[in-house]
Symmetry: C2
Subunit: 321 residues, 2 copies
DNA sequence: GCGCTACATCGTAAATGGTTACCGTCAAAT
DNA sequence: ATTTGACGGTAACCATTTACGATGTAGCGC
């Protein structure tokens, strides 16, 4: 028994000849190791839990792909749970994942509240936050600097001569895509000495339709902006179509910029100028970090901020050109 | 011990008073049931394996969402494995999933070859194919009728007066999105007495760019088609933009139709006319079927074909209108 | 009131399929 | 002959489930 265990686990302490015999028997009997029994005995399952808001959202799907690729590389499997950013569902899946004895946990979600922390604390396995972070910074995380990304986006608008800049924001309750990006907008305005005007920002829900709606509102203003910054690409694309549906042109009549760089950004006309967030890498780096933690390697910086990059395409113009 | 097991599993054979004491102890000790040990003893893991070509592909992501929702409803978790339609990776993940003692397997992939069948046969748990099916029809599956969907798409073009209809196909090696849809195209042509012309079909790789390329080719033909059928929405959108980039109009100069109905289809101008495939439902129904199989319920029809529906939007016009 | 039966409740121990610490054996080297 | 190291076997252990048996108690007939 022990010998079989050794050959299956590639333990060197077994004579090649015996090893061969074991392999033959395995073949002959159609033996398949039972990972559950192995997990019980070894206290390792080589699976990690991933809680994700919504796998059908292309951003998270891309992150998930990064996670899975790296997990696979290190011979982990992942258990995927959608939680829709609903707190009580998040807590629930965290607990079932922990019951399943995952070797580590990757958490993606909007906000991490005190209740989340409480759930995390009952865990004996490492946890890393992906595309979020906790207030206190107590947990390892990987994310981008949303505020800086938004700042850069608005700033490129400003550098193109725009001063009447509207924003289609997410809800301010959302710390990353909402609050932080909105604050980046405000700061960029402030840094350029432009006064913040409340009626130049609308709150959307990140979806295409809400971008269309918000833009309709701006189009109806007596004093129209010359450019709009959308918190996400999808809303930006909605805004572009809203503009075009009125017979106006992007970027001639309005410049549009946003943050994300989803694939669709290069599948619209005009090609969307946006600040890219490295989605695949967010997942990949988070998973890599988790593997280190699971191996109890010491990691220098457990809170990593990945760089963003503004991608100049065709939806932004110099004003009066 | 047995009593604790009983209360944790809601077995009625335990005095309410004892039950309460157990709950108290659980609370006090912070006890969390170990699902791995439970799995070993009960031979059930309440997790199912899902092999998927690519989770970052929006179609599969949507299917996956359907799978996960239903799985969750029946208290299963899912282990997600990307296999990129690469046979040897598919076989590999099937085996590791089986080692992990999943209670069932959901397989999505391009082709199911004899080697797949061989791997399936070693399984003691039910397997259902989703968005594919095997030649012999030996395994439960849920899919749409790709050929009929393509037929309907081409037929609506024909009913709009078009007779010079190009196709942007997928590779003919791919049984569903490739071969079947191509054959639907041919049959629709044939049924309308239109001669099939080889230089009116181009093979793409399902991606936007290949749609752009293929359309460029058609645009360069001396005798241009008046309409194009793309095997997938993404290629259709590429085609639309290719047309627009030449200063031509959809649908005035060219009609465009395809199959899929991804979200992006209603996020382009003009809104894409397409034959909708119920992606979420494909996943949901497949998972529901699997739950029945896992419970050893007898199922009337293990090979389900979900209906498709052609969605008339704005990318198709009557010819000479 | 007694004895018996039946049932509810609970505990015991085997089983699940591995890993691994520990020990014994054997052959080669010193 | 003794030491050493490679190799293989034994058995404890992992945290549950579950078959089975033990215990206690209530109901019933007499």
């Amino acid at each position: 028994m022990a010998t079989v265990s050794r050959v299956v686990n590639n333990n060197p302490n077994v004579k090649p000849q015996t090893r061969k015999k074991v392999y033959e028997a395995i073949e002959r009997l159609g033996y398949r190791p039972n990972a559950v029994a192995r997990g019980l005995a070894s206290k390792k399952t080589t699976t990690v839990g991933v809680v994700i808001p919504d796998i059908s959202n292309s951003i998270f799907a891309e992150i998930a792909r990064g996670i899975e690729d790296i997990a696979n590389m290190y011979h982990y499997n992942i258990i995927l749970c959608n939680a829709d950013k609903r707190k009580e569902k998040e807590i629930r899946v965290i607990n079932t994942l922990l019951e399943k004895q995952v070797d580590g946990l990757l958490f993606m979600g909007g906000t991490v509240t005190d209740e989340h922390i409480l759930a995390f604390q009952t865990s004996s396995v490492p946890i890393v936050l992906c595309a979020t972070s906790d207030e206190k910074g107590a947990y390892p995380s990987v994310d981008i600097d949303h505020e800086a990304a938004a700042f850069d986006a608005v700033n490129t608008l400003i550098r193109h001569g725009h001063r009447e800049i509207a924003m289609i924001s997410g809800t301010l309750q959302d710390p990353a895509n909402g609050y932080a990006r909105f604050h980046g907008y405000k700061k960029a305005l402030e840094a350029a000495g432009i006064e913040y005007q409340e009626d130049l920002v609308r709150i959307g829900n990140y979806r295409y339709e809400s971008g269309v709606e918000a833009m309709k509102y701006f189009l109806g203003l007596k004093k129209k902006p010359t450019a709009v910054f959308a918190a996400t690409d999808e809303m930006a694309i909605g805004a572009i179509h809203s503009i075009q549906d009125e017979g106006l042109k992007v970027p001639d009549d309005f410049s549009v910029i946003s943050v994300d760089n989803i694939r669709m950004a290069s599948m619209v006309r005009p090609l969307l100028t946006t600040v890219a967030q490295p989605m695949y890498d967010l997942g990949a780096v988070a998973m890599r970090l988790l593997t280190k933690l699971m191996k109890k390697e010491t990691v220098e910086n457990p809170r990593v901020i990945l760089p963003h990059e503004t991608i100049l395409r065709l939806s932004v113009n110099h004003l009066n050109e």
